[in-house]
């Protein structure tokens, strides 16, 4: 599905609680139009819409936007609910034909999310898209390396993180998706919203070897407090050359992980 090079966009928008799904769609249309004009095949929307549930109206609006701009969308369309009424923090993937490609529930919850009675997700999913195979990380999952590693081992080539950042510290930003992109040698799209108490450092990331200044950043918002459309090209040929030369995941010590780490995960270790 993927071309030799593909283009991804991250939309750094203001965090609102939207009154209606139409208002939400209207809000994003202009940014999507800009991303489309720059050749983006997929756009990641920042923030969450503030609704209690990702209902049919939200999905319909997202589908219309995807079709209108001929672009895949990754967005938080509100919490997902299961048949038992449990709520999950989730990201939705909408294909450019408007169909729902799938969802990824957040696996690890913050204290606040637990207090709000969200339930943790269980399954990991990947999504084949025109910009590569996607793996999604919402919120706190980006700080738990097992999630990104699991997605990468399932075939993810582009990790997407949608979260919030409350500090201007570069270290805090580096410790999130940037760290996972380097550890798994994948591309990354990271979306942060702007707003009161929020700092946004939305970006398109790649392994350090693939970027001109060696920092691992393909493109990044220049102002952490302003809305922005960030577009970056994912150079698949360069990644292929890197993996041929330095394939980190090919040299995993599975024997060590299965014998010692698995036992420690299960509480069978010495501590």
């Amino acid at each position: 599905m993927r071309r030799a090079n593909s283009t991804g966009a991250v939309l750094q928008g203001r965090q609102y609680t939207f009154a209606t799904e139409e208002a939400w769609a209207q809000r994003w249309a202009q940014a999507l139009s800009r991303a489309a004009s720059w050749g983006a095949q997929l756009a990641v929307l920042s923030g969450s819409p503030g609704w209690d549930e990702a209902g049919d109206a939200a999905l319909r609006q997202a589908a219309e936007l995807a079709e209108r701009f001929g672009m895949w969308l990754v967005a938080d369309l509100g919490p997902e609910r299961d048949d038992e009424g449990r709520a999950f923090q989730s990201l939705h993937v909408v294909a450019s034909d408007g169909s729902l490609a799938g969802t990824q529930r957040q696996i690890h919850l913050t204290q606040r999310e637990r207090e709000m009675l969200f339930s943790p997700g269980e399954e990991l999913a990947t999504f084949d898209s025109p910009v590569g195979v996607l793996g999604l990380l919402r919120g706190a999952d980006v700080g738990i390396p097992e999630v990104a590693r699991g997605l990468t081992l399932l075939g993810a080539e582009v990790l997407i993180h949608v979260g919030t950042l409350g500090t201007v510290s570069e270290g805090a930003w580096l410790a999130r998706l940037w760290r996972e992109v380097q550890a798994n040698q994948v591309f990354g799209l990271e979306a942060y919203p702007v707003g009161p108490g929020l700092v946004a450092r939305s970006c398109v990331l790649a392994p350090v070897e693939l970027t001109l200044e060696g920092k691992g950043v393909v493109a990044q918002a220049s102002d952490p407090r302003a809305e922005a459309v960030i577009v970056g090209e994912l150079d698949w040929e360069a990644r292929k050359r890197l993996l041929a030369q330095y394939p980190i995941l090919d040299e995993m010590n599975l024997e060590l992980y299965r014998r010692q780490l698995l036992a420690l995960y299960r509480g069978e270790g010495p501590s």
Partner: protein, 352 residues
């Protein structure tokens, strides 16, 4: 070169290296050196001062020369108040290759470039040299630890096992000179495959008066799994003895190592780099001491070397009490049951 001629050549080099590497000169020199005592560990185990030695590589042509170089850097660290001194990867091997006649600059690189026969030669050299060089390394560092009264994570040396396999192993010495433990490198890279090294299959944690230490080696820190294994055994300080042979140094490239691991599995990280040019290889890096960004602020570096190609001692104070509180109060704890189910299954599927 025929197999027989090659073996005879290696045997000749081995005998000469053994002669040049006899321990007497190192022992005599160390017996006359001046030693100051390191600061004793904090009885309450709250704080520790650590030193990462950025070791300027040179080939030593005698055990005495090697002892002098290691002494000098240990003394600088101890005089700066260090209670734990960390040396780079392969400090017990590469500098001591100077004992092998004719190994001069570029020779090893030329052997590697020579192709399959060159690869064989490097592997044979590693196997032949390891048992000669290890006793010198071990003697020098246990002597330094005892005479300065300091904990030393002495980088690594090559160890020839009973099954004839060769491993890259870090040794940790206590202030009485006793060996506290060993850690074999568990993830190999580049030249190590050429050298035919075997990898370790366990990550150890050493409980000491200056904190709980784990010593995965260089490439091991590229993998979150090693840091997690150490963390789940309560390791508080990850020691990263490294030697990166790279043409162009990058701080960002370096952050792929122990810096990333201490963000995921909160601990302090002490990274000691080998620097300089030898054997046709440019070793570069900036030794540094790291902590979780959420604990130490900034970009997570408590201290770092000024240059990537010169010798330096990097010093930092680690607040272990603050680390313990930080770990206890983490907002998000990993769901290890979930990790076991999902990664366990994936590892099974990937297993050969």
């Amino acid at each position: 070169m025929t197999g027989l001629a090659q073996r005879l050549g290696v045997e000749f080099l081995r005998i000469v290296a053994q002669w040049r590497g006899r321990l007497g000169p190192a022992r005599r020199w160390l017996s006359e050196a001046q030693f100051t005592s390191a600061v004793a560990p904090d009885a309450a185990g709250r704080e520790v001062r650590v030193a990462a030695v950025q070791f300027p590589l040179r080939l030593c042509s005698s055990s005495r020369e090697y002892a002098q170089a290691c002494y000098l850097w240990t003394r600088r660290a101890v005089e700066a108040g260090a209670q734990l001194v960390v040396f780079p990867e392969l400090i017990g091997f590469v500098p001591l290759l100077g004992l092998v006649p004719g190994i001069g600059s570029g020779a090893l690189g030329a052997q590697i470039e020579a192709g399959p026969d060159g690869d064989d030669m490097v592997a044979i050299l590693a196997r032949a040299a390891a048992p000669i060089l290890l006793p010198i390394y071990h003697f020098v560092f246990r002597s330094l630890a005892r005479q300065f009264g300091v904990h030393i994570a002495a980088g690594s040396a090559l160890v020839l096992g009973q099954d004839e396999s060769v491993s890259n192993v870090v040794f940790v010495f206590g202030p009485n000179g006793a060996e506290l433990g060993r850690q074999a490198k568990c993830h190999l890279y580049g030249l190590e495959f050429v050298m035919g090294l075997a990898r370790g299959n366990s990550i150890e944690v050493f409980d000491t008066p200056i904190g709980k230490l784990a010593c995965p080696v260089c490439m091991d820190h590229t993998y979150f799994e090693t840091g997690r294994i150490a963390y789940l055994q309560d390791a508080e300080i990850l020691l990263d003895s490294s030697a990166d042979a790279i043409e162009e140094y990058s701080w960002w490239y370096q952050l792929r190592g122990v810096w990333g691991r201490v963000q995921e599995s909160p601990a302090y990280g002490v990274q000691a780099m080998m620097v300089g040019d030898a054997l046709g290889m440019p070793f570069r890096g900036r030794s540094a001491v790291f902590g979780p960004v959420g604990l130490v602020g900034g970009d997570g570096a408590l201290a770092r070397a000024q240059d990537c190609d010169r010798g330096e001692v990097v010093i930092a104070d680690l607040n272990l009490e603050a680390l313990r509180a930080y770990r206890r109060d983490l907002d998000v704890q990993p769901r290890y049951d979930w990790c076991a189910r999902h990664l366990g299954t994936l590892w099974e599927q990937l297993a050969p």
